[in-house]
Symmetry: C2
Subunit: 347 residues, 2 copies
DNA sequence: CTTGGCACTCGACACGGGAGAGTGCCAGAA
DNA sequence: TTCTGGCACTCTCCCGTGTCGAGTGCCAAG
């Protein structure tokens, strides 16, 4: 029972600190919340919480501030994701429904997330490695260059240019046509890794003197097919970073740098691997402060979710902000947006 | 002759202020530069410069700081663009030559600019309105949706999805094939506005009951062909913003917000219209402080340049930073990068 | 037109003394 | 055992003061 009150105190500390962004002391705590005990008792509880490493005093005789561990406990056990109001849901739907394009969907989503949460929003494009090949096109670009275009079922389009030796116009045109149809026959409808494997044997079906060309095209496709670095992310709301506390010259610069390293963002937001059994596909992942691998993000938290149809995730999205953030509301927003985007990409 | 010295004083003030980021006074001025006159004389000159609105004292008896007008005069008449060293040129070439892709070129360019100048770098993708149509592709996406893909001679690829009523598989396939080849025959090799005009009469060549479909595809293409908002920009180096002076909570937030408004960036960096006669295509445009339209950018300067082959500009690039920036070096870097990117896109 | 000198004005900085907030601890009450 | 009120203590924050130094403006003389 003491235990229970102690946790209630922790919850109150987190809530108040998020509200005021100032260390919270025992007096104001008993004023704003009805614990039914006096400030002195709360002080004792706070001392215990500090021993357990859940809160921390910036200096003697200032209030207490939650530690990363404190936020973690709060998120895991002390808070419920705040359900969104009908109006909010409607607004999300209205805003996303106007999208004409995959690019447009992603763009709107990331802006929406940023303005809902007042944090930095990140959206990963549907991952290629979890997509199917819809179409492949080979287009000559000038005399000796080919553009290879790959269209995924998610609507993503990737292209790459390769330099090759083409023969005469006439013969080249025919050859390209044949390459295109063979590629399509072999790869269309298959998953990317699958398609990649199947294409290996393709050059054998061509005349020996054409094989170099075919190999070049396939090599080019292969790059697109499993190069992880082709994963793309977009972000919005970086301006929200400036609304943090006062000490952020040192805080904001490494964060902005980290945000430009898309590889870092992919680690944070990319949903690699299927949803583990038992964990629903739309589960939220929360990473708090130092739990984060990247050094520059030690004082930021990341809330991310996968999106996609059913348990088949195709990408990730989420927000990044100071550890001192309103977790229940932010988690609700991320979840709602991920849910809606999943629906949108369904058909 | 007095006139001449006064300008020399202004130049020295700008240089010192950029170096130290502190208001510069008459004493330190005569110490660091050999004017051949005393501090008192310089003071008189400074008083005149202040009357002319070229410099400004933050408060009584602090040093002087250049105004926007002062920077303007400095850029126009008092500085020469610092030529880049051979090593720097070589580094630029080495860094950009590895690009495999238009996306890659743009990505590398923007990062390069950011790291060369230590400012925020912006690169516009080659504009569609100044491009030629290289190829058009129509790909069915599921039962009732088509993806229309447009490839420009610059390597840009744009796609859009349109929902249509397709007939039976067999007939639809043939129809799409015909649409594709008619589109290509009409548009390939033409400029975007040109192509758009020519496509208008295309539906007439199809059987009446197919015209709706054809019109849908063309409408979709048209959107891509002259919707200005399809222009794309990318940026890098936002972390450099954090290295500004101390008062930037109020400074940095509106800038970050402006940077997310790609429309704003296009106005700043997009090179619309051909290079005016007499002004070479690679001319640098410099906008200083309040010369800027956008309110949030009142204390930032923009240095931009077009790029493209010869006098035919296809896009813009540049950097954005505090008005207190090293104009000669930054201008040199922007010019060199623009020059190199132009070469790279040449063939 | 230039120069040195002089008085004056401010901002930056260090010092010091409340005021206030908050803690820790302890002895007594429930 | 657990809670409570009280008290001493320790911080930070803030404000006023005084000093220092940089820099200016002006003036009379070269």
């Amino acid at each position: 029972m003491t235990d229970e009150r102690r946790l209630a105190v922790l919850r109150a500390i987190v809530q108040d600190y998020v509200r005021t962004s100032e260390p919270v002391g025992s007096r104001s705590l008993v004023e704003r919340h009805q614990f039914g005990v006096s400030a002195a008792t709360v002080r004792n509880d706070m001392a215990l919480l500090e021993e357990e490493g859940l809160i921390h005093a910036p200096h003697t005789s200032a209030g207490r501030v939650p530690t990363d561990a404190g936020y973690r406990l709060f998120v895991n056990r002390l808070s419920a994701i705040k359900p969104m109001s009908g109006a909010e849901r409607a607004a999300i739907a209205r805003f996303l429904d106007g999208a004409v394009d995959l690019d447009d969907v992603v763009d709107r989503t990331v802006r929406l997330l940023a303005s809902l949460t007042h944090q930095v929003a990140v959206v990963q494009y549907p991952s290629l490695s979890r997509s199917m090949v819809r179409h492949i096109e080979v287009v000559p670009m000038g005399a000796s260059r080919l553009m290879v275009i790959l269209i995924a079922n998610t609507g993503r389009v990737e292209q790459r240019v390769v330099t090759v030796g083409l023969g005469s116009d006439e013969a080249a045109h025919d050859l390209l046509g044949r390459i295109r149809s063979e590629l399509l026959a072999e790869a269309a409808g298959r998953s990317f890794p699958d398609a990649s494997a199947r294409l290996e044997s393709l050059p054998d079906r061509f005349a020996p003197h054409d094989r170099d060309l075919v190999r070049a095209v396939i090599g080019c496709l292969d790059e697109v097919l499993h190069e992880e670095c082709e994963e793309r992310v977009v972000l919005a709301g970086t301006g929200n970073l400036a609304r943090v506390g006062s000490d952020f010259p040192r805080t904001i610069a490494p964060v902005l740098e980290a945000l430009e390293e898309h590889v870092v963002l992919l680690k944070l937001f990319g949903q690699l691997g299927d949803a583990p059994a038992g964990r629903p596909a739309d589960a939220l992942a929360v990473t708090i402060g130092h739990e984060n691998q990247h050094a520059g993000l030690a004082s930021t938290s990341v809330i991310s979710s996968g999106y996609g149809s059913g348990s088949e995730l195709v990408g990730g999205l989420g927000v990044l902000g100071p550890t001192r953030m309103d977790y229940p509301s932010t988690m609700a927003a991320v979840r709602a947006v991920a849910h809606y985007v999943s629906q949108l990409l369904e058909p």
